[in-house]
């Protein structure tokens, strides 16, 4: 893989940030304990979740397979959390290689979600000592603007809460896995929703910044990651870096983090409900449309615009030698109409009657049936 070195923080930048902090100002104008906005978007697939925390984005996907359980815990399912830092997030990340940073983030998330027993592992058991579900949570970081841990933890827990695993029945001997269309999938049982709240520590614990940006993260002396659930129960406490932090400070910020965690969890639950309502109404949440209009406004509209205005070229292709049922009619006026996201239909728009598509009989019949029903 190509090597791109991480760009270091310039001294003047660092000094400027510290000076601003001594004047109680953050570079992006937030208060010290103010967090960035969260956006949560669920995909079409179960257990697919996109989370944006300011400019930091993560995509989580839960997948499941059946495996033999751990011999030490024969009646419990397995859950694996994997955070992937690829060059898409920042150029200096290398794909497929474990770095200190990725190991650390992985471990914090594991502590937060796995070790706090958020997922009911017993419910993932199919047959004791033989078959259990293995859940794999893949979190891909899409862009790195500081505070990956928070973003990844929200994405992972939201994806787990959103995920439905296929239903399984057993007739004693055989185990049958039903597809989504055969039986309604089973939601994951979550005992509680732990998430991480991070602070950057400056000046020996004098200043703690909530939800640090990339620059703040690089300048900070240490990072404090607090994993909490909505009931103010502490799941993780991680202090990385080198600084001294007194007891009171930790307790005080844990209190603050608990408030934040409750808000975020509420937000996750609200988003999940919205998604269920949408699915009930059969408006399957379309990931790309909302997502990309967020990232780059109007691009989707632009595409739809181009699709609408686009007209086929004046019969560039030669007529097929009638091997197929398709008859391409010389028509320079047909218009592509958008049926859905990334799907379009050719709709003839002839100037006069002679210019329209010739439909073969079968098709006509089909059309009639459609209209009647």
């Amino acid at each position: 893989m190509a090597k791109v070195r991480e760009s270091p923080v310039a001294t003047c930048e660092k000094n400027f940030l510290l000076k601003a902090l001594s004047n109680y100002t953050r570079l992006d104008g937030r208060a010290f304990d103010e967090f960035r906005n969260i956006k949560i978007q669920f995909g079409k697939d179960w257990g697919c979740c996109y989370v944006a925390l300011g400019q930091t984005c993560a995509l989580a996907q839960v997948s499941s397979e059946i495996q033999q359980p751990n011999s030490a815990r024969p009646s419990e399912g397995i859950i694996n959390i994997n955070v992937e830092l690829n060059p898409m997030a920042a150029a200096h990340f290398e794909p497929g290689r474990q770095t200190d940073m990725s190991v650390q983030i992985n471990r914090i998330l594991e502590k937060c979600i796995k070790d706090s027993k958020a997922v009911d592992l017993e419910s993932l058991c199919i047959k004791v000592n033989e078959k259990v579900w293995l859940f794999r949570v893949d979190v891909n970081i899409l862009s790195h603007e500081g505070n990956i841990v928070d973003c990844a933890s929200i994405a992972a827990i939201a994806a787990l809460a959103h995920y439905r695993r296929p239903d399984v029945t057993s007739d004693g001997e055989e185990i049958i896995v039903h597809t989504y269309s055969q039986r309604d999938p089973v939601p994951t049982v979550l005992h509680h929703h732990p998430i991480c709240v991070s602070y950057a520590v400056f000046n020996e614990g004098e200043v703690l910044l909530a939800d640090p940006t990339l620059l703040e993260e690089n300048v900070a002396e240490a990072h404090l990651n607090i994993g909490l659930n909505a009931y103010k129960e502490l799941c993780t406490l991680h202090l990385g870096g080198s600084t001294t932090l007194n007891q009171h400070c930790v307790i005080q910020y844990t209190e603050k983090a608990a408030k934040r965690a409750a808000e975020v969890i509420d937000f996750i639950k609200k988003s999940l409900e919205e998604d269920t309502v949408k699915r009930d109404q059969d408006e399957v949440a379309d990931f790309s449309s909302t997502l990309f209009s967020e990232i780059q406004e109007d691009t989707v509209n632009a595409l739809i615009g181009t699709l609408n205005t686009w007209t086929t070229q004046e019969n560039k292709w030669k007529k097929p030698k009638q091997l197929s049922n398709i008859e391409i009619v010389e028509n320079d006026n047909s218009v592509i109409e958008v049926v859905g996201e990334k799907a379009a239909a050719l709709v003839p728009r002839g100037k006069d009657e002679s210019d329209v598509w010739i439909c073969i009989d079968e098709d006509v019949d089909d059309d009639c049936i459609l209209i009647e029903s």
């Binding site: 995909g43 996907q61 893949d138 990931f287 691009t299 030669k318 097929p320 091997l323 990334k342």
Partner: protein, 177 residues
């Protein structure tokens, strides 16, 4: 263009590295195939000779796969290259279409159409004279069907080039304002 590893160094041209990340799980063989397809198509478009002893790293992250993944990946890569300012010979547009049992063609098919498809085609065109850069097919089909599909996709590729134009001009105007 960035620094390149010794083993990948090419003295007369840039080496193009494509990383394809599936949404779930580790990258497997079929993802490597996707990488190769994208790489082969993109290499023709980039002016590789301009950047010797360097590499262009492309990372593709799958977000939602409801068909036409390769076409989507190639189009996204082209848009990203356009945005990065790397010199290119031409732009690329990939178009996906299927043929179903009744020999009907579907441009950019949806889920149902794909399930009933007999064969699927992905064509990549250049922006200069709309020549085929690469083509990828699955399933069985006749030569004539291939030709018809090719012509249909060729007609549709203009739409993608127009799309590039709109997004780029939008972006530029945003920066200017």
């Amino acid at each position: 263009p960035v620094e390149v590893k010794m083993q990948n160094i090419l003295t007369d041209r840039t080496s193009v590295e494509v990383n394809f990340r599936p949404k779930a799980g580790l990258p497997n063989i079929s993802d490597r195939l996707q990488e190769q397809i994208v790489k082969n198509s993109i290499e023709t478009a980039i002016l590789c000779e301009l950047y010797p002893r360097s590499s262009v790293v492309i990372t593709i992250q799958e977000m939602q796969n409801y068909g036409g993944l390769i076409a989507c990946a190639i189009n996204a890569t082209c848009a990203a290259l356009l945005n990065s300012g790397i010199d290119m010979r031409f732009l690329l547009a990939a178009v996906n279409c299927t043929v179903d049992k009744d020999n009907e063609l579907h441009l950019d098919p949806d889920q149902i159409e794909r399930d009933h498809a007999k064969a699927a085609f992905t064509f990549v065109f250049d922006s200069l004279d709309k020549k085929v850069v690469s083509s990828q097919t699955t399933g069985s089909f006749t030569l004539q069907q291939f030709q018809v599909a090719l012509d249909l996709c060729k007609a549709a590729c203009d739409c993608i080039f127009d799309f590039y134009k709109t997004i780029t001009s939008k972006q530029i105007s945003k920066h200017v304002v």
